[in-house]
Subunit: 306 residues, 2 copies
């Protein structure tokens, strides 16, 4: 079997076009509807700068105003918290995203918990997390990457209910919410992590109809671990050195693309698979936030006293 | 192999004795420390009445004051919410437990979400749930049954890290937090539910070193599905008719006890396994709540202005 490539760029474009249409339609009726996202970047990690730039560009293309606040690496936790509180109080700000990872001296959990639940477009604060894991819960913002993966599976008509699914990785951003969303969609999910043995890895992978890998290990998963016909979603984005490239490096996923594509039925490439979907899901979350904020704070009341 | 019975009563007694000692020690220093639990029971389901009575008795034995508020089946959601708000505001109330299940016309999620996060001794509100699922999260109150199961595993020196674990059921009270606690303890966990097929059930069970069943299906799991030497924790409490009993019924677990005990190395009986641990964990949560409440609201400030 040779896997069909899942075209994340194409699906993401579809989502972003839909969002742009939505914004225009809403603005036609409500002239003062201006979705507005603020991204906070602490320090200047090169990868973070790349991601932030991609988000900015995509937001602008979709008709979303986007401001980037760059803060120095040395900023204290307290100063960063204060900054977030200001944004929480600014009624014009619809969504707040703190680009991760943060410098070591800052407690990430504390920071992501500070973002107002109504502006938490990354879905990482306790209110959103709590709702995500509660049965019949009503999380307003799903974490962007898992949300994007679910959209890909649905766009490619992958049967999730009843499947055996394996998620590699259990981070708050990707692995854990991914397992939860697949479980909610009635897959039987096994969660693998760094303390799972190679034997466990291969046992569960050999049975998996759907594999989502988010571990950040270059070309780690081999084709012969995978079940014939499996759907493989590769979230990993890893740079490896490649002297044939001008930059001296090349982006690869967690999967050994060549051997895995010989066994899988569907496979996301890296780049061009999950990455664009993460950005598209973020924009979707910003629109959800902006509409709710508009209704609460900007809408002309329907009934006014004369 | 014939399984050793896990003696939940004995371990629970140990926990409760520890709690009683703690309360006495703390009271020796702080005379006005009076841990106080309020249980709300809506309607008069027989099983709920039994559980509530057990909790009351255990609390009193451990030196915890316990009040039961019985509300009529027909109470409205609004009235119940109001009741909870009163208890939230009553500084003397350390812990609030709403006995589940609630009548159909009341939204359980809404009710459990209303309990003040600092009094949420069942651990079912969004703040506690959010913390439970966040990496490095700091849930003050773990849901009682899964917390009790972890205590049992630890008391019987079961090696959780590195194991294959299977959890049957994914409810907010038992299955889902159970999977999360086992995952945190570095087991590789598969979550099974009603949409898992019999073939999936048997595949994962045949590999599982640790099985926790919380599905509420009488004697459902058979010995030949289980791996030789597995540790089996049976949370299920199901009544089946038994004409040889005066009551006409008998309590059984989710496991076919006889056949499973021939394959497992350790097995919890029903009754006398998980049930007593649920109660012990509740008392433990009440003490955590009471100490925190005492420090916040009752402790004489260390430095006072003369
Ligand atoms: N394409 C996109 O849009 C995005 C891509 N990413 C990429 O996804 C990857 C994961 O990101 P993130 O979740 O933030 O990473 P983290 O480093 O937070 O988490 C990595 C997870 O992988 C687990 N792990 C590590 N090694 C193994 C192994 N050999 N087998 C199984 N599990 C293992 C770890 O286990 P343990 O918990 O035991 O430590 C951990 O849970 C990275 O490459 C990142 O760049 C991330 C976000 C968005
Ligand atoms: N000993 C104790 O202290 C306690 C005991 N219990 C007992 O534990 C049991 C479960 O309680 P609770 O979690 O509240 O129950 P729920 O009814 O809320 O949940 C039952 C779960 O079991 C799943 N399930 C049902 N049938 C099957 C099946 N054939 N195979 C796999 N999974 C299945 C359901 O799946 P789906 O999600 O798809 O519907 C659901 O997730 C009950 O017997 C209850 O009395 C509960 C609490 C405390």
């Amino acid at each position: 079997m040779v896997a069909e490539k899942i075209d994340g760029k194409e699906v993401a474009l579809k989502v972003r076009t839909r969002i742009h249409e939505e914004v225009k339609k809403f603005q036609a009726v409500h002239k003062n509807f201006n979705p507005y996202l603020t991204i906070i970047q602490v320090g200047d990690r090169q990868d973070s700068s790349t991601y932030v730039r991609m988000k900015l560009k995509a937001a602008q293309e979709a008709g979303i105003e986007c401001k980037i606040i760059k803060l120095p690496e040395e900023i204290t936790e307290f100063e960063l918290l204060t900054q977030i509180r200001h944004l929480n109080e600014d009624v014009n700000v619809d969504g707040i995203l703190v680009q991760l990872p943060l410098p070591e001296h800052i407690n990430e959990g504390k920071i992501t918990s500070e973002v107002d639940a109504n502006k938490d477009v990354d879905g990482l604060g306790p209110a959103n997390v709590g709702e995500l894991y509660k049965k019949g819960g009503n999380a307003r913002f799903l974490p962007c990457t898992p949300k994007g993966v679910m959209t890909l599976l649905s766009e490619y008509n992958v049967q999730v209910s009843g499947s055996n699914a394996v998620v590699l990785g259990r981070s708050d951003i990707v692995g854990k919410p991914m397992s939860q969303l697949l479980n909610q969609a009635n897959a039987t999910v096994t969660s693998l992590h760094s303390r799972s043995s190679p034997e466990q890895l291969q046992f569960y992978l050999s049975k998996a109809d759907i594999v989502v890998s988010a571990i950040g290990k270059s070309e780690f998963i081999k084709g012969d671990w995978i079940k014939e016909g499996a759907v493989v979603i590769d979230v990993g984005t890893n740079f490896i050195s490649d002297s044939s490239r001008a930059s001296g490096s090349r982006l690869v996923g967690d999967c050994d693309f060549k051997s895995v594509s010989e066994k899988a039925s569907l496979l996301t490439p890296v780049p061009g698979g999950v990455g664009p979907m993460t950005v598209a899901s973020l924009l979707d979350n910003v629109i959800i936030a902006a509409k709710a904020n508009f209704e609460t704070n900007f809408q002309t009341p329907k009934f006014t006293n004369p």
